[in-house]
Structure formats: C-alpha cells, structure tokens
Amino acid sequence: MVAYTPGQWDMADDATRQQFFDDHHAFERFVDEHGRRIDSAALSDAELATTIRRDEAGEPVVTDGPFAELAEQVGGYYDVDLPDLDTAIAAAKLLPHQYTVEIRPTVKVDGYESV
C-alpha cells in the first residue's frame, strides 16, 4: 500500500511526473523479474472518499471523507507475489521517494470460499 501527501501529484511539473512514471516502471520490472504482479490501482484523492460505518444502533452511517484524517492518505496499492519480505522491501525502495510504503502479507481466511 502506498501513502502519499495529497496534492503532490497535482502540483508536480512534467519532469516530476515523468520521474513518478519511471520509478513505477522500475518497480514493475523488478517485480516481474523476482515474482509476479497480480493487481494494482491508483486511488483518487481522499477528498473524494466516502466512508460507511455503523453507529451504536448498528445502522450504517454514510459520511464524507476517508477513515481517518491524516497528513498522508492511501494513494494506491500493488498486489504482488514476491518470494520474501527482503525482496518486497527492495521493490518498495524503487517506488517514488514521495511515497511511504506499507507492506502487508495477504491472507487466506480459513473456511471462506469466494462465490
């Protein structure tokens, strides 16, 4: 998962945007070399986020905004298959330096079968 400070992309000039693209390409090539890419997406700014949580009575409440108001927001994710955490860390280091990257294993939930 990639976190970044909102507005960075909008304010970036062409050269900076090209650097973002180059870094993502380097990341993707590294992943292809050491494992495989499963999925990825870039997310819109958190100002377009809508949050649904339950109130005390268990009723869904829809509000404007993300889970939590933080300086950094989740900006996108890559689902990749890599051999170990060290390889994942090496891959994450290739992403644009503006990002904070959180690595988490995906898990298979016992007993759950998708329909």
Partner: protein, 419 residues
C-alpha cells in the same frame, strides 16, 4: 563419565545452540517447533545424561533428540491435517537439504547459517526490543525467564513478545537468508543495534546491583562475538564490541557494597577488568575501522574512544580531558543529540573550568525539559564555580525530576553536603 554432565550440557548449550537452531530451521523450516524441540532436548539431556553418561557427541545427541521431537509433532499434525506456515529459506538451501535429506552432523554447518539466523532475528521489520530478545533466545539459547529478567518485564510478557516476533517472521515472510551486498551493511547495523539494546538493558538504572542482570549484559557481548565469528572484521561489530567491553570492564566498580552508584572519578580502578580494556583498545586500532564506515559504526567507535580515554587513564586526575572534548566534538558531528551535548559540557568543564562547562550547557534546557541530568550537571558545575545558592536550586530541580531511587539518593546527598 557421569560427573560433569551439568557442565557438559551447559557448554553444549552455550557453544552450539545457535548452530543447532540454524540446522533444524534449514531442515524443517518450522520456527514454532524448533525452539520448543531444542528446549525439550535440553530437558531430556538433564534427565538422562546423569545415568546414561555424557554422549561422545553432545551436540549430535541434542540434535537427534530435537529432530525426533519435531518429527513426532509433524506426524501428529499430519494426522490432524493441520498445515502450519513454513519459514522462507533461500533456494540453494531448500534444494541442498532436499537432496542430502539430512545433514546429521552439526559440524557440517557453515558459519553462514548462523549469520542467516542472526539476520533473521534482528530484522528491521521486527520491533527492536523483540528482535533483541529473540536473538538472545534463538542464537545464544538464553532462557525466556532470564531474558524477561534482563529487560525487566514479567516472564509471560516476554514469552508473548518472543512468540509474536516468531509469528511475524513466518507470516510477513522474513527470510532465513543473507541479503544482497548493498543492504547487508544496514542489516548488520540493525544486528549491532539489537545487541547493544540487550547490553544497555543489563545496565538500566534503577535495577540495583543485580549481578545476574550484569551477567546477562555479558551475553550481549557474546552475541556480538558470535556474529563476528561469522563476519570477521565487520566494522560495526568491531566498534560495538570495543564499546561494550569498555563499559562492561567497569561492572565491579560501578556500585558499592550497599548498592549505591559510584561515579566514574570515584571508582576503584583496580576493580576494572583491564584485560577487557586492553582488548577494546586493540579493537579500536583495527584496520577495519580506518576505512569508510556507516554513521552508526563511527558513532560506536567514537563513544568507545571516549570510554577508552577514561579506561586507560591511571587515575581520574590523569584523564586527558582535551582529547575527550575532541572526541565529543566528533560525536556531535555524527549525531548531535542533547545527551551527547550534555556529556561534552561535562568534559569541557574538566578541560577548561566550570564556567566554560556552564556556557556549554546553554540552550540545552529547551531540548531536555524533563531531564534530571541537566540540572544535576549544572548543580555540580555551579558548586565548583562557588555559586552555592544556584547549586542548591539546581539540585532541588534535579531531585524533583529524578525517578530513580539510587540516583536520587546520590543527588540528595550532594545537595545536603553544600555549605
């Protein structure tokens, strides 16, 4: 020979634990089972060796017993159709163990496996204190109750911390591997940091004159020696070992018979371990420290050089304070922490007089608003400068902020001695 079985067992645990752990991990890749199985094997040895005699190959005996224990557990799991997650071991390893089946003799193990174990335990993705505890447990075989005692937490808390770290290693995919050369220096910095954390825990203030905890701090030194065995001349380990040896060499002079803290100038220097000082001084001359090193290595080395100035001065008065100040200047250039500035001010006062020392304290109050050490140092320097009233007020503040009984007693005694 029935006599000596306790020593034989203690020796094999001490010398071979990390290698046995590595060997079993490479073969079975089950971090959860290996530690328990080795613990069980040691218990079995304690029961059987007194009657059966010490086996010719004690390490081999422990390995075989632990291996059987793991196989039993795996069979039970197979029956229950449980599948536990496996540790990630790099390819050449899984392949080599798949082909040789089993490497029966721990003597076959290359030092690299021990390094893999150390790097896995001290991975930066683990909480530092947990990594430190895990290293003592898996590399050195220090028992969980002893580790709990070292870090001043309860045994269940420490057991939970170690279990959580082992779970994260497997679930997050921390590999049993040596990383690529470009990240290895940083990873060895983390290894050094985890070892130093265990070491300083043994000397944590407030814990009193606990000989066992100081002995456990000595285990952190052994951890560094073990890793140095696998990475000879590694700069960060050379510098850290020197620093630890110099601090550890004063262990018998740090507290008096009543358990009160004895400050450096008042310590009985004949009670310092001069063999350890000599070794540290030799380490500091090592060519591995003269090349380009990481900031952490340089910081350990300069702290060791400061400690060495004290350790090699025949008396407190003979300390070369100008050189000590020079070393502190180097340290501040590397890492300008408030505590280093405070220590430098003390050295400046010794080299150039209390007024210069007081001037060197300027600006530190904002950075150390809660520290009792800053007003304690100021009080001492004001005393020497003849400002008794100012010294009294500074001692009051230091005593009010200090939450350590032994240190507070010392401060109160100094304040009450003012005339």
């Amino acid at each position: 020979m029935p006599q000596g079985h306790e020593e034989a067992l203690a020796t094999v645990v001490r010398e071979e634990w990390g290698r046995l752990t590595s060997l079993l991990l490479v073969h079975f890749r089950r971090l959860d089972l290996v530690e328990d199985a080795l613990g069980d094997a040691v218990e079995a040895a304690a029961r059987r060796w007194p009657t059966d005699g010490v086996p010719d190959n004690p390490a081999g005996w422990l390995h075989t017993t632990a291996r059987r224990r793991i196989l039993d557990r795996l069979r039970a799991e197979a029956m229950a159709q449980r599948k536990a997650p496996l540790l990630l071991v790099d390819h050449e390893h899984t392949q080599s163990t798949a082909t040789d089946g089993i490497r029966a003799d721990p003597g076959d193990l290359v030092e690299d496996d021990l390094l893999r174990l150390v790097l896995m335990c001290a991975h930066p993705a683990l909480d530092l204190a947990a990594a430190s505890a895990l290293s003592l447990r898996l590399v050195l075989g220090v028992t969980t109750p002893d580790i709990a005692r070292l870090f001043l937490v309860s045994e269940p808390t420490m057991a939970a911390r170690i279990t959580r770290a082992k779970k994260k290693i497997v679930a997050a995919g921390i590999p049993f591997a040596v990383p690529s050369a470009d990240v290895l220096p940083q990873r060895l910095d983390t290894v050094a940091h985890t070892a130093y954390l265990a070491f300083t825990a043994g000397y944590a203030p407030g814990s009193g004159p606990d000989a066992v905890r100081i002995a456990l701090a000595g285990e952190a030194i052994r951890l560094v020696r073990v890793v140095l065995g696998a990475r000879p001349d590694e700069p960060v380990l050379v510098a850290l070992l020197a620093l630890m040896l110099l601090q550890h060499s004063r262990r018998d002079a740090r507290v008096d018979d009543e358990g009160a803290i004895v400050l450096l100038p008042d310590q009985d220097r004949s009670r310092w371990h001069h063999d350890e000082v000599d070794e540290a001084v030799r380490l500091l001359r090592s060519p591995s420290l003269s090349g380009p090193v990481t900031i952490q290595t340089a910081a350990y080395a300069v702290q060791a050089r400061i400690a060495a100035e004290h350790a090699t001065a025949p008396t407190a008065d003979a300390t070369d304070w100008a050189r000590v100040v020079g070393h502190y200047d180097d340290l501040l250039a590397l890492s300008p922490t408030p505590s280093a500035r405070l220590a430098r001010a003390v050295a400046v006062a010794e080299a150039q007089g209390p007024e210069a020392g007081l001037a060197a304290l300027d600006g530190l109050d904002d950075e150390l608003p809660l520290s009792h050490r800053l007003p304690a140092v100021r009080a001492e320097l004001l005393t020497r400068a003849g400002d008794t009233q100012g010294a009294h007020a500074a001692y009051d503040l230091a005593i009010q902020r200090c939450d350590n009984d032994a240190e507070r007693a010392l401060l109160t005694q100094r304040r009450d001695a003012l005339t």
